[in-house]
């Protein structure tokens, strides 16, 4: 080792400039990516924020007019419909994904034969595009030709399932398709959590005579807390961003029955020529996501530190 060091030292002294170049090189390599992120993410966010304080309609204008767009936004009945739908969709989506995901993970963790076949089946919808999912479920739930008619043909004459075309129920079809797509992912998260639990703890509880049910309730599920947290954060973030699924499944309809903040933003900006209101709604979405993600990222990055 000393030989190598001796050999390197004199070179270092001679090539001070080269040395500096060597120090700068990593930053030069990182700089383009960071510049792209600064401009296209943070610069654009500020740009959108700026537009939300203007009077922009079909094209951006850069004269500041204060909070008009926000006042306008919060007086749109459509915006309240979008928020209410997000609350319904988000809470049911998170709840059912976690309930089904956890159930499947626990069942799969019982030394199941054929786990290698079953697990990929639960997870494959996650590989599909939301547009494909929406298209498939739109057909499957089509009252005229889909599930409803199939059940009626099988003799259940009174079977009704016309949620897709019902103003009150359409948002629940978005929940069904969304849960179908993401619950397998949640299962994988819980399964990873379950596999990480020390089996000694469970053996000790078994020896103490605890029933399987109480082992799960008292020991295993509390130990899955990090997986719960991750699942809730990831799902909440996906719910707020949901756009493609609604567009493909219901197109935001019938009427505005399945409007979400994401579809609201798009239609106000690009089809209704209310760019300032669209920007204001985008800022609202960003604030919602930031409130969830920033504390999470902060704690994750700090945890890695320790």
């Amino acid at each position: 080792m000393t030989v190598t060091v001796d050999a390197v030292e004199p070179v270092r002294h001679r090539a001070g400039v080269l040395d500096k170049a060597r120090d700068i090189l990593p930053k030069v390599v990182l700089a383009p990516s960071f510049a792209l992120i600064l401009f296209f993410v943070y610069g654009f966010i500020l740009w959108t924020l700026y537009l939300s304080f203007t009077n922009s309609r079909i094209l951006p204008v850069y004269e500041l007019v204060g909070f008009g767009a926000y006042v306008n936004l919060w007086s749109q009945p459509n915006w309240y419909v979008a928020l209410q739908n997000l609350a319904i969709f988000g809470s049911l989506y998170i709840f059912f994904c976690i309930a089904i995901g956890l159930t499947l993970a626990i069942l799969l963790d019982q030394r199941i034969r054929g786990e290698g076949v079953l697990r990929p089946i639960f997870l494959y919808p996650m590989a599909l595009s939301f547009v494909v999912t929406g298209t498939a479920w739109k057909w499957f739930l089509n009252p005229g030709l889909g599930l409803q008619r199939t059940m009626q043909q099988w003799g259940w004459e009174s079977f009704r399932f016309d949620w897709l075309t019902s103003t009150d129920m359409a948002i629940y079809t978005v929940v069904i398709a969304g849960v179908w797509q993401a619950s397998g992912f949640v299962m994988a998260m819980f399964l990873a959590g379950l596999r990480g639990i020390d089996s000694e703890i469970i053996k000790a509880a078994e020896i103490d005579g605890a029933s399987t049910f109480s082992i799960y309730r008292r020991i295993i599920i509390p130990l899955l807390r990090p997986a719960f947290l991750s699942a809730v954060i990831v799902l909440a973030h996906m719910a707020i961003k949901s756009y493609d699924l609604v567009i493909a499944l219901t197109g935001g309809g019938p009427g505005n029955a399945t409007e979400l903040p994401s579809t609201f933003m798009y239609s106000y900006t690009f089809t209704r020529s209310q760019m300032a209101v669209g920007s204001a709604s985008a800022v609202m979405m960003l604030m919602g996501i930031s409130a969830i993600i920033i504390p999470y990222l902060y704690s994750e990055l700090r945890e890695r530190e320790r």
Binding site: V11, I37, F44, M126, T150, A192, Y266, L297, L301
Partner: protein, 293 residues
Amino acid sequence: MSAAATSVSPGSARFARYFIYATLVIFALIYLLPLFVMIITSLKPLDEIRSGNMLALPQAPSLDAWFKAWGTACVGVNCTGISGYFWNSIKMVIPAVAISTILGALNGYVLTKWRFPGHKLVFGMMLFACFIPFQAVLIPMARVLGEIGLSNTTAGLVLVHVVYGLGFTTLFFRNYYEAFPDELIKAAQMDGAGFFKIFWRILLPSSGPIIVVTVIYQFTNIWNDFLFGVSFASGGGAPMTVALNNLVSSSTGVKEYNVDMAAAMFAALPTLIVYVVAGRYFVRGLMAGAVKG
């Protein structure tokens, strides 16, 4: 173990096993059902779809709807099928995945092995960029793409996907390289190896798994994207997902469900094939993107 064995009678234990298997199998069938219905619908002629049962197998399976979806179905006013849009997606996804993966690898390398003051802030800012709602950048992006003449082009979409994929690719490689022993890097430096030589000779040869994970994650995300496609390239340069939505939601003429489903299968197959071939890596990418631990 004996305590557990005596507390539960063999009969009820066997019943519990049956119950577990039955539940899992029923769930598996429910998960497979939409895909099954998509496939059989795409193989039926239209009158059989209208008169028959959705779940009935096709009486005479035919690929007519697949050929029609590929070559002659009308997307908007163009009746040239979805093939052109499929190639748009291919032309978009290959460069976007390659560039974002290479940049992510280099970024991860710098952020773990060549740390500088403020490296955590830089990483944190890149990481947060993964999670923003893209609605917050749509309007400026549309303006900029228009200014530089990349609206409705594949090149424009490549740029967009590289920019908004960088955070994830950097995250993947950073977390992977963090576990790589620093001693090996130091030893190579002692031997006079420079920045790129260390990367090329030492890190890259052991990066196989994380490259596969990143490529699959990016491929799936970019292929499946709809929002950017519909916002920045909704015309002839549209990617597959946008074309599919236009095809399915167009209201002119007779509704051809079999063609819709065949087109949906074309949109689904690339990512499904990747999933079947390399599912393990797909799951790893999902987990790494979700649990940043």
